[in-house]
């Protein structure tokens, strides 16, 4: 069962890993963007967002994710989504997010993909 929105984050190998839990809407999206911005200003340029516990994303929440992608792209970085529910995966695809962001099955896969990239 999905919970009220919360997130945790950690930086591993200079990669920011944000793990969300709950509805990625205006509140959730803003929380993700805020957490991203805090690390972005400190120089983090590769981000992994683990959406395993977020089965529902609305377009307002998605607009925050797009902003993160744009900032990272401008800065030569990359965003990778992991542990996606099939419906969220399809949603991100239709909204065109995979044109500029990646997706991997697990966080470990994403870390490996970003290591090859950099």
């Amino acid at each position: 069962m999905e919970q009220p929105f919360s997130l945790t984050s950690e930086v591993r190998e200079n990669r920011l890993i944000i793990t969300t839990n709950g509805y990625v809407n205006n509140v959730g999206g803003a929380a993700i963007a805020e957490e991203f911005q805090r690390h972005f200003t400190e120089g983090v340029r590769h981000v992994i967002i683990d959406l395993a516990l977020s089965r529902v994303v609305n377009s307002v929440g998605m607009s925050f994710l797009i902003e993160i992608i744009e900032k990272l792209t401008d800065a030569g970085g990359r965003l990778v989504f992991t542990n996606l529910d099939p419906s969220v995966d399809k949603m991100l695809g239709i909204m065109g997010l995979y044109d500029f962001a990646g997706r991997e099955a697990t966080t470990e896969d994403a870390l490996r993909a970003l290591a090859i990239r950099s």
């Binding site: 999905e2 509805y23 797009i66």
Partner: protein, 532 residues
């Protein structure tokens, strides 16, 4: 004329554009554009006093880049169609240029601090003007890019809504899903309409049966929330209400629009269709299970009814049972007893189907048990009446005829428990009615007595035991067989050499009368004749 065009062209291309348009193209907003323009002009004129201002619809000037506030009196008038106006004052040591932007706001650039030796000339004037136009073009391009991005986003969002609607329709129709159709539809409704939360409530007779919210802490029916939208349907007496609250934007909430209404209604209808399909499937499975149960009951009943009848020396015996449904409520048998006698029995349970079949089973079981004891036939009838009364509901009873045959003497003790009159045809053609006995078994348990009558069969005598399915067999116009062909007469006039042909002929006669009309009742008959 030709010369002046050439001169104009040469003059224009000779002006230096101080602003790098590529750099302007990367600007992220009007303030960023202003900073880039200011930097470029400051570098070009090698001065620091360059300010960029914007005037909004309220007429107030806002400083975008630089430090000095604008003096409204120094700004040349500019209309909405102005493509740029430049004005010099202080004897050419200051310049201020204004441009009406594409969005209607006024952009102004003030350049100050030229020295006596370096006054603004016509070329500087054009340089400032070009910078201003570049800023306007960059701002327009940025706005177009943003607008295009918004259009693409909105287009994708519509595509997503359509796609999600189709997917949800398929998913809620899936029967083995972990998430309930209501919850799934609620999640999708909240996400696709950008609602902040939603609830689905199921009510019956005004009372709440269940409530589901998404997010789990976001009950839409709780206080708070400015904008609400709901959709409901009634299925099997239960009212399903979907309610969503507050359409989110990046800056707050707004009212739901017509598309949101369509989406919520469509998702709600998908759940209704899914529930209906599940209900129909459940009914179909129940029917299937019931048919399987009936098949098992029919199989059990077939074991109760005799597969073959005993061979009785000096007698010919034949019987038949044709149930009108898979399982019937008729019963017949010829049970050999330990003392060499035989009990002929035929019975008809009121009603049909499984309940009747169950009562037939009870009769068979009780009769088998009582026959093991040394009860008289009348006692057996009394006990059967009590037992069946206890085992059945008030509207169920059994009519039965019992004939206890001593094959050696030909004597038959008869008890008719509310059954049709049983016929005995003497060898000389006389037909004797056998109807003495008592009430149907299980009808009343008041201790009413049963009585028996005795007959003796001599060679050539015959007995016909039957159920009402034969005389009451109906043809296509609801006429009764017995009305056209009294069974008593048929029995009297058809005297084959053995029992089997009589049963076959009787069945064929009934069938030819009934024609294509469906069989309304079970048909059972038992025929006994004494040969020697």
């Amino acid at each position: 004329m030709q010369d002046s065009v050439i001169v104009h062209h040469v003059t224009f291309t000779g002006i230096e554009d101080p602003v790098d348009l590529r750099a302007l193209g990367q600007a992220t907003g009007l303030a960023d554009i202003a900073i880039r323009v200011r930097t470029a002009l400051a570098q070009h004129f090698r001065i620091t006093a360059v300010d960029v201002h914007v005037r909004g619809a309220d007429g107030a000037w806002e400083l975008l880049a630089g430090s000095a506030p604008v003096d409204p009196a120094s700004v040349p008038p500019v209309g909405p169609d102005s493509s740029g106006t430049v004005r010099f004052w202080a004897e050419g040591m200051q310049a201020i240029a204004v441009q009406c932007l594409h969005d209607g706001r006024i952009l102004a650039i003030r350049v100050d601090g030229q020295s006596e030796s370096r006054r603004f000339d016509a070329q500087d004037l054009l340089t400032v003007r070009m910078a201003l136009m570049s800023a306007d073009a960059a701002w327009a391009a940025l706005q177009h890019r943003r607008h295009e991005k918004e259009l693409v986003f909105e287009l994708n969002r519509r595509l997503l809504q359509l796609n999600s609607l189709i997917d949800t329709g398929i998913e809620v129709a899936t029967l083995d899903q972990a998430v309930s159709p209501c919850h799934l539809a609620l999640e999708r409704a909240v996400a696709l309409t950008n609602a902040s939360r939603g609830t689905v409530i199921v009510r019956r007779d005004g009372g709440e049966i269940s409530r589901d919210a998404f997010p789990p802490d976001g009950d839409a029916t709780s206080a708070g929330g400015t904008y609400r939208l709901h959709s409901e349907f009634v299925f099997q007496g239960e009212t399903y209400t979907f309610e969503i609250v507050d359409k989110e934007t990046r800056t707050g909430v707004q009212a739901f629009d017509g598309t949101d209404r369509l989406l919520l209604d469509a998702l709600s209808r998908q759940v209704e269709a899914s529930l209906e399909n599940r209900f129909l499937l459940k009914q179909s499975l129940e029917k299937q299970r019931m048919e399987q149960d009936i098949a098992v009951a029919a199989s059990i009943q077939q074991r109760i009814l005799p597969s073959t009848l005993p061979e009785i020396a000096g007698y010919s015996l034949a019987g038949i049972n044709i149930p009108s449904k898979s399982v019937g409520g008729d019963y017949y048998d010829c049970i050999p007893l330990r003392d060499g006698r035989y009990l002929l029995v035929i019975a008809d349970v009121s009603g049909k189907g499984i309940p009747a079949a169950l009562l037939v089973s009870s009769l068979h079981a009780y009769l088998s048990a009582y026959l093991e004891s040394a009860f008289s036939l009348v006692d057996i009838a009394v006990r059967l009446n009590t037992a069946i009364h206890r085992a059945s509901t008030d509207d169920k009873f059994i009519t039965a005829f019992f004939g206890l045959l001593d094959p050696a003497s030909g004597s038959v003790e008869c008890v008719n428990a509310g059954h049709n009159t049983i016929y005995c045809r003497r060898a000389d053609g006389e037909v004797v009615d056998l109807c003495k006995g008592g009430i149907p078994l299980g009808m009343l348990d008041l201790g009413l007595p049963y009585e028996s009558e005795q007959i003796t069969l001599v060679p050539g005598d015959r007995l016909l035991l039957y159920t009402d399915g034969i005389p009451e067999a109906q043809n296509g116009v609801q006429e009764l067989y017995d009305t056209h062909h009294p069974l008593r007469d048929y029995f009297a006039s058809h005297i084959p050499a053995t029992a089997g042909p009589f049963i076959d002929a009787l069945m064929e006669h009934v069938r030819s009368f009934v024609g294509d009309a469906p069989q309304a009742d079970d048909i059972t008959a038992l025929y006994l004749m004494r040969r020697a």
